[in-house]
């Protein structure tokens, strides 16, 4: 039982991070049909910038805010310099552009920072909390809490504000969105900025547990993508569900089978989804196909 709880808890923790990355994929995909493989680099930027500002003596909360700001600027530049000029290009071209951007960002991080692994101090110390025999890191609670706050904020924004509805409208019918006077370019920029902020926040929250380095984004993008596919590409709720499930699969298979299969779980998930249910668990909301 303590073992089960332990795996459950670590599964939820990494799952929350995958869910945040998957939500980032979804926001950009919905606004622009772009599958942004530079999503993992936003996570890396969040962790790395916070770590290095921390070394320079900047207090942690301020460093975290600055790191998020840096990620947002990178996200907006990615949209303005790489995606917008290629508007109208095929989906494959756009994917190649984002892969190129992710390689570029990794290279830049290697030059600006270094190749070492870096840590951010845990927000509330490292002493584990014991809960029914399982040891829980206080930082895990920060990750889960941060993820929940992010999801609730995004869903309230979409559901309660006219700008949020404009984002949904752009996702559902770009032509009609333009015709009612929505600046769809701004909506795309907004979604790149929001995805970058969410990714960076995920990086800041998880780095005290997993460490980070210039290339930490590769695996995270892959796992976030697997989670988004599993939940149904384009569905924000699906992204959250897919992320949590993937995190749980991964930790339980690592715990009960072998940790050497941990990273393979994401690959297997992608393949299974492609073969068995290409539209994922929740798919795109069915009415959209009418």
């Amino acid at each position: 039982m303590p073992e089960f709880l332990q795996f459950l808890f670590s599964g939820l923790t990494v799952g929350a991070v995958y869910a945040m990355v998957a939500l980032g994929f979804t926001l950009i995909y919905n606004a622009s049909d772009v599958v942004n493989f530079a999503q993992g680099e936003f996570v890396m930027i969040g962790g790395m910038v916070t770590a290095f500002l921390g070394y320079a003596g900047v207090p942690l909360p301020l460093a975290a805010l600055l790191a998020i700001a840096v990620a947002i600027v990178v996200g907006l530049l990615l949209h303005a310099l790489a995606i917008e000029p290629a508007r109208g290009a095929s989906a494959v071209t756009l994917i190649i552009i984002t892969i190129g951007a992710s390689i570029f960002l990794r290279g830049a991080a290697q030059v600006i920072f270094d190749k070492q692994a870096h840590k951010i101090p845990a927000f509330s110390g490292d002493a584990p909390i014991t809960f029914m025999g399982a040891a829980i890191l206080p930082q895990s609670l920060w990750v889960l809490g941060g993820a929940v706050v992010t999801f609730v904020a995004i869903f309230l924004f979409m559901d309660r504000t006219l700008l949020g509805k404009a984002v949904l409208a752009t996702a559902s019918n770009r032509l009609a969105a333009q015709l009612v006077g929505i600046n769809t370019r701004t909506v795309m920029a907004l979604s790149f900025g929001a995805s970058a902020a969410i990714g960076a926040l995920a990086g800041i929250l998880i780095t005290p547990i997993t460490l980070t380095s210039y290339d930490a984004g590769i695996l995270l993008a892959l796992k976030g993508f697997a989670a988004a596919m599993l939940g149904g590409m384009g569905n924000p709720l699906g992204a959250v569900l897919g992320g949590i499930l993937l995190g749980l699969f991964e930790q339980f298979s690592a715990g009960y089978v072998s940790s050497s299969y941990k990273d393979a779980v994401a690959f297997i998930t992608i393949l299974l989804v492609l073969f068995v249910m290409p539209s994922g668990l929740l798919g795109r909301r069915a009415v959209e196909r009418v």
């Binding site: 006219l162 509805k165 404009a166 949904l168 409208a169 559902s172 019918n173 032509l175 009609a176 969105a177 333009q178 015709l179 009612v180 006077g181 929505i182 600046n183 370019r185 909301r285 009415v287 959209e288 196909r289 009418v290």
Partner: protein, 232 residues
């Protein structure tokens, strides 16, 4: 209200609007009729800015707008009800209408009530997803959404397409009633008889060029129009 001069638009290298000039005066209903593939939809899309143009000028209330992005044209008073309705399927009827007023900052409660009065069928379904409406209701929603912008100029692309005759009449009655409220309308229709009957003036477009123009009544009597578009 609207002045179009030598407008050209192409898909790739194939030009489908080949130098169209037309005028719509304030308060007029102007019909644009023509057969399948004549370029009507492309022309309207060029006017609202979602279709690139290769030449010509567009003036709305004297202001050149051919370089303005679509959302600016909406802000300047143009609303376009596109071919095929294009409602926001997953959003509710009321959200669709609210988004119609996206460029406005003032109170829209009156406008919502007005749309529900014009189209009572929508009032009962205000909380339902637009994708679940019937074709006729989606057409009403598309028109209602455009009216929410309080447009000065309304561009309508085949509002009667695929609708039962009774609904066609209802939609065209609404178009005619808009005139009384001072809305200017450019109406594209394949259903030339119905369109010319409510229009002050009309243009006939053939393979990207205006071939005939005149008052609605005169065009309805024109032997060439009768033969080509009215099947008489």
């Amino acid at each position: 209200m609207l002045e179009v001069e030598d407008l050209r638009s192409a898909y790739g290298r194939i030009e489908v609007v080949k130098g169209v000039s037309l005028k719509v005066a304030a308060g007029e209903i102007v019909a644009l009729v023509g057969s399948n593939g004549a370029g009507k939809t492309t022309l309207l899309r060029a006017l609202s800015g979602v279709q690139p143009i290769t030449g010509g000028r567009i003036r709305l209330q004297g202001e050149s707008i051919e370089k303005a992005p679509p959302h600016r044209r909406v802000a300047l008073g143009m609303a376009h009800v596109p071919e095929g309705r294009q409602v926001f399927a997953p959003l509710s009827v009321e959200d669709n209408l609210r988004l119609g007023a996206f460029q406005r900052n003032d109170d829209i409660a009156v406008d919502l009530e007005r749309v529900y009065t014009l189209f009572p069928a929508l009032a009962d379904k205000r909380r339902q997803a637009a994708g679940g409406l019937s074709g006729g209701q989606q057409q009403m929603l598309a028109m209602g959404r455009a009216l929410m912008a309080r447009p000065k100029l309304l561009l309508l692309d085949e509002p009667s397409m695929g609708l039962a005759p009774l609904l066609v009449q209802q939609i065209l009655d609404v178009v005619a009633s808009l005139k009384a409220e001072g809305v200017t309308v450019l109406l594209v229709e394949q259903n030339a008889t119905a369109a010319l009957a409510i229009a002050d003036r009309g243009y006939v477009i053939e393979t990207g060029r205006i071939s005939l123009q005149g008052s609605g009544a005169a065009l309805l009597r024109d032997p060439k129009v009768r033969e080509a578009y009215l099947g008489v």
